[in-house]
C-alpha cells in the first residue's frame, strides 16, 4: 500500500512541509473531487468518491501530529499501540494528574481565563513534544523512543479535548 507521504509526493519525515502538502492536496482534489464528476457516469463518480475519501483521510492523518507520528512509525515497522501500551513514566502521569485537577478547579469556579492559561501551557508543551518527536524520528532514527513520545502527545491531545468540553460547561 502506498504511504500517505507518497500519495502527496512528499518525503516521509515528521517535520511537515505544510505548504507542499497543502499544494498537492489541492491539486489532487481539483482533479478527483466529486464536484468534477457530478455529470459523469456511475463508474467515474464511484472512482472519484473512493479517491477523494482516500486523499482526505491521508491529508487528515498527515496534518495531525499524533496520527502523522503513528503512520510514520508504522512505515518503519513500529506499532505505537495506543490501546495496549498505556505504561507512562510516573512523573509524566503525576504532571497529567495535576493538570486535570487544575482543569476541574477551573470548571468548578467557572473560570474561563484559567482555561485560557491552561490551554496556553498545553500548547507550548505540545509543540516542544512535537519537536522532540521530529528529532527522534528524522535525525536519530530512534523509532522505539519516538513511539513513547507519540503516546505522550496523545495524552496531551486528550487533555486538549477535555479543555474544549470544559469551555462548553463554563459558558
Amino acid at each position: 500500500m502506498q504511504s500517505h507521504f507518497d500519495l502527496f509526493g512528499l518525503a516521509p519525515a515528521y517535520a511537515l512541509e505544510s505548504e507542499a502538502l497543502e499544494r498537492s492536496y489541492r491539486e489532487i482534489q481539483s482533479r478527483v473531487h466529486p464536484d468534477r464528476f457530478a455529470h459523469a457516469g456511475d463508474a467515474e463518480r464511484r472512482a472519484s468518491l473512493q479517491w477523494t475519501t482516500r486523499v482526505n483521510e491521508a491529508y487528515r492523518t498527515l496534518k495531525d501530529p499524533v496520527q502523522r507520528g503513528k503512520h510514520l512509525l508504522e512505515l518503519h515497522g513500529v506499532d505505537v499501540a495506543f490501546e495496549t501500551n498505556t505504561a507512562m513514566p510516573p512523573e509524566f502521569l503525576m504532571q497529567q494528574m495535576e493538570l486535570r485537577e487544575a482543569l476541574e478547579q477551573a470548571v468548578h469556579s467557572k473560570d474561563s481565563s484559567r482555561l485560557d492559561s491552561l490551554r496556553q501551557d498545553l500548547r507550548s508543551s505540545r509543540s516542544s513534544l512535537e519537536h522532540k518527536i521530529g528529532e527522534a524520528i528524522d535525525a536519530n532514527k530512534d523509532y522505539a523512543g519516538a513511539a513513547g513520545l507519540v503516546r505522550k502527545l496523545q495524552f496531551l491531545d486528550k487533555l486538549d479535548s477535555e479543555i474544549d468540553a470544559a469551555y462548553e460547561s463554563v459558558e
Binding site: 500519495l7 502527496f8 509526493g9 498537492s24 489541492r26 491539486e27 489532487i28 482534489q29 481539483s30 482533479r31 478527483v32 473531487h33 466529486p34 464536484d35 468534477r36 464528476f37 457530478a38 455529470h39 459523469a40 457516469g41 456511475d42 463508474a43 467515474e44 464511484r46 472512482a47 472519484s48 468518491l49 479517491w51 477523494t52 475519501t53 482516500r54 482526505n56 483521510e57 491529508y59 487528515r60 474544549d164 469551555y167 462548553e168 459558558e171
Partner: protein
C-alpha cells in the same frame, strides 16, 4: 505528445450547449430558485415578479394543493391544512420538535419521521417539501424554457443525516435531478466570496426562519474550505415570533387559544417583529374568534428583552466553531450575515460586539444562499471552463459512530471531517458461537447513545461460529459529497464473507418514495411511463457524452480489446436511446457503467499523477 491538456475529466472537449442548472434555497419561511444567466447569478421570480415563494403548502378537500402566497393568505382560516415551516419537521419525530404543542397540526407519530394529517390525507414533511420544490421547478422551467438538467438544494450546515436524506428525497419526488446538497453558509460564502474576491478566514452567521448555522471558512483563490461548522437546527426567526406571541398572550391575559386564533396571533407577532427592524415600536392588534380584542404596543426595548436569551443562544455554537477551528475572534477577517432573521438590529449588534467588527451585509440576506447555490449548480453541470471554476471542501457537522457495550458511543468519523470521508473500525463477538451482530448507527457528540440521534439499526448475520473475540467484523462508514452516510459491515476471518450494507432511511423506505413519486406524477397528470422514459434518456445521453469525452481525452490508457468492449457498450446504449423501452435503456446504462469501471479508475490515477507532476491547473 500533446503540449496542452485542453479537456479535463468529466468535461467535454468540444463546446457544448450550457446545461440548465438551478440552485434552490428550500427555506423554513421562504424558498427561492436561482440560476446563472450569461455568467451572472439571478433569482428567478414568479409570473408576478415576486422572487420569494413562502414555504407554505395548503391541502384542500378537492385534492388541490396551494403553495406560496395563496396558501399564506389562508393560513389563519385553515390552520390545520396549511403547513408552514415544514422544514422544522424534516427527518424529525414528534418528540424531537420543541414547542410542538404550539403548532396547530394533527401530528401522526411515525417511526423515524412524524407525519401530518390533512384533509387530503396523511402527509410526510418530505411530500410537503416536494410540493414547494415542484413549484420552483416549474417556475424555472417556464423561465428558462427547457428541462432542468440538475439542481443544487441547500440545507442548513447543521442538518444531520436524517434531515439531509429527507431533503434529497423531497427533491427526487419533485422530479429534480439533485446534483448536490449544499450547506447554506457555504453557498453564501461562494456568493459573497466571489462577489468580493475575499481571501482569508470568514465566518458565516446564518439565522434563518427555523435553523441557525455558523460556519468558519478559509477562502483562498479558487478554494472554499470549511474549517468548522456548528449550529442549532431548532433555533431561528420562528422562535422570536414565538416569544412575541407568548408575550402578547401574557399581556392580554388570554386563555389558551384555538388553532385559528393561534395562527392569527402568530402572524401578527411576525409582522411586529419585522416592523421593529426599522421602527422603535410596533402595534399588535387582532380580533379573536372569542370576540376578544388584542391591542398592544411592543417597544424595541421589550422585544430585545424577551429575545435576549435567543440571541445569546446563537453565540454558544459560534464559540464552539471557533474552538474547533483552532482560531480566535481576531483571526476572523469578516462576518457574513445570512438569513432574514439577521435583519433584527439586536442580532446585528450582538454579532458585531462578539467579533469586534461590523458584520458584512452588502448582499441581500434572503437571496445570497440561492445565488451561491446557483453558482455551484452551474459548476457541477460543467458549464464553467476549467480554471474559472472553484473547489469546495465541506465538512460533516456532527460525529458519526456506533453503539458499543454499555450504551456508549464509539465515534468513527468525528465532526468537522472533510467530506467525502470514509473510515472503518473492527469489532468482535463477545459470546462463543455468536453468529450475528447487531449494529446501531448514531450521530451526535454525546457519550451516551441515548443522547445521540439513532440513524439505523441492522443485523449482520451468517458469521461462522467461533470463540468469543475471534471474529473480526469490519464496520465501514462512507459519507458522500452530500454529507450522506452509508454503512457496510463485513466478517471475513474464515474466508466466509458475511456482509450487509445500509443507507439510513428514517421511516421512508424505497417503497414509500416510489409511492410518493407515483402520486406526485398523478397530480401533475403526467404519464408515469413517459416520465421514466424521459429520465432514462437524459441519463443515457449524459453517460454517452461523458464516455465520449473521456475517450477523447484518455483513450491511450486502454488496450485495443478494452477499447472495443467500451465502444460496443457505448454503441449499444446509443442505439437504444431513441427507442421507447426505458428498462432496456437502463440496462444499457448499467452495462456501459460496468464496462468503464476500470477505465474510470485509471483516469483517476492519472489525474493524481498529473497533479503531482506539478502541472498547474488554472488558478489553484
Amino acid at each position: 505528445m500533446a503540449l496542452m491538456q485542453i479537456s479535463e475529466p468529466g468535461m467535454s472537449p468540444e463546446p457544448h450547449q450550457a446545461r440548465l442548472a438551478v440552485g434552490i434555497d428550500l427555506g423554513t419561511t421562504n424558498s427561492l430558485v436561482a440560476t446563472v444567466r450569461s455568467g451572472v447569478p439571478v433569482v428567478l421570480p414568479d409570473a408576478q415578479g415576486r422572487p420569494l415563494l413562502p414555504s407554505i403548502v395548503r391541502y384542500l378537500p378537492s385534492q388541490k394543493i396551494e403553495v406560496g402566497y395563496p396558501a399564506q393568505a389562508r393560513q389563519a382560516d385553515d390552520p390545520k391544512n396549511t403547513i408552514v415551516s415544514v422544514k422544522r419537521y424534516m427527518g424529525r419525530g414528534v418528540k424531537d420538535v420543541v414547542h410542538i404543542e404550539n403548532a396547530p397540526y394533527d401530528f401522526v407519530d411515525a417511526p423515524g419521521m412524524l407525519q401530518i394529517r390533512t384533509v387530503a390525507g396523511v402527509k410526510s414533511p418530505v411530500e410537503v417539501s416536494a410540493e414547494i420544490l415542484k413549484v420552483l421547478r416549474e417556475r424555472a422551467e417556464l423561465s428558462l424554457k427547457g428541462n432542468i438538467s440538475g439542481a443544487v438544494i441547500t440545507v442548513p450546515a447543521y442538518f444531520d443525516d436524517a434531515q439531509r436524506q429527507a431533503t434529497k428525497d423531497a427533491g427526487r419526488i419533485a422530479g429534480l435531478n439533485v446534483l448536490r446538497l449544499l450547506n447554506e453558509p457555504t453557498a453564501a460564502a461562494i456568493a459573497y466570496g466571489l462577489e468580493n474576491a475575499a481571501e482569508g478566514i470568514y465566518a458565516v452567521y446564518d439565522l434563518g426562519g427555523g435553523t441557525f448555522d455558523i460556519s468558519i471558512l478559509k477562502l483562498s483563490k479558487g478554494v472554499f474550505e470549511v474549517v468548522a461548522t456548528s449550529g442549532d437546527s431548532m433555533l431561528g426567526g420562528d422562535d422570536f415570533d414565538q416569544r412575541v406571541f407568548c408575550w402578547a398572550v401574557e399581556q392580554a391575559k388570554l386563555a389558551p387559544l384555538g388553532p385559528h386564533d393561534m395562527r392569527r396571533l402568530l402572524v401578527k407577532a411576525r409582522e411586529a417583529k419585522e416592523h421593529l427592524t426599522v421602527h422603535g415600536e410596533a402595534p399588535i392588534t387582532a380580533k379573536l374568534s372569542t370576540g376578544e380584542f388584542i391591542d398592544l404596543v411592543l417597544s424595541s426595548e421589550t422585544f430585545c428583552g424577551i429575545t435576549q436569551t435567543l440571541v445569546q443562544k446563537t453565540l454558544g455554537p459560534v464559540r464552539k466553531a471557533l474552538r474547533d477551528a483552532g482560531l480566535t475572534v481576531d483571526q476572523v477577517k469578516g462576518v457574513v450575515m445570512v438569513g432574514g432573521a439577521t435583519r433584527m438590529p439586536q442580532v446585528q449588534r450582538a454579532v458585531g460586539e462578539f467579533f469586534g467588527r461590523d458584520p458584512l451585509n452588502n448582499l441581500d440576506p434572503d437571496k445570497v444562499v440561492a445565488l451561491g447555490a446557483a453558482m455551484q449548480a452551474n459548476v457541477l453541470a460543467g458549464n464553467k471552463p476549467q480554471g474559472e471554476d472553484w473547489l469546495l471542501l465541506d465538512v460533516i457537522p456532527l460525529s458519526l459512530g456506533i453503539e458499543t457495550m454499555g450504551g456508549l458511543t464509539e465515534k468513527i468519523i468525528p465532526r468537522n471531517t472533510t467530506i467525502p470521508a470514509g473510515r472503518a473500525q473492527e469489532f468482535t463477538t463477545f459470546k462463543d458461537g455468536q453468529t450475528g451482530m447487531s449494529i446501531h448507527v448514531v450521530q451526535g457528540e454525546r457519550e451516551l447513545v441515548s443522547d445521540c440521534r439513532s440513524l439505523a439499526r441492522f443485523e449482520l448475520k451468517g458469521i461462522p461460529p467461533m470463540v468469543a473475540g475471534a471474529a473480526r467484523v469490519r464496520v465501514s462508514f462512507q459519507v458522500d459529497a452530500d454529507g450522506l452516510l452509508s454503512v457496510t459491515a463485513t466478517e471475513n476471518t474464515t474466508g466466509v464473507e458475511a456482509s450487509v450494507a445500509v443507507k439510513p432511511s428514517y421511516g421512508l423506505g424505497d417503497a414509500d418514495i416510489e409511492r410518493m413519486l407515483r402520486e406526485s406524477v398523478d397530480h401533475a397528470k403526467e404519464d408515469v411511463y413517459a416520465r421514466a422514459l424521459a429520465e432514462q434518456r437524459v441519463e443515457g445521453q449524459r453517460l454517452v457524452e461523458a464516455t465520449r469525452s473521456a475517450l477523447a481525452a484518455d483513450a491511450a490508457l486502454l488496450s485495443a480489446g478494452e477499447r472495443a468492449a467500451i465502444d460496443q457498450a457505448l454503441a449499444g446504449l446509443q442505439q437504444l436511446i431513441p427507442g421507447t423501452d426505458h428498462r432496456a435503456i437502463k440496462k444499457a446504462v448499467e452495462a456501459l457503467n460496468r464496462a468503464t469501471d476500470e477505465f474510470a479508475a485509471r483516469r483517476m490515477d492519472q489525474g493524481i499523477k498529473r497533479a503531482l507532476a506539478g502541472r498547474k491547473i488554472g488558478s489553484l
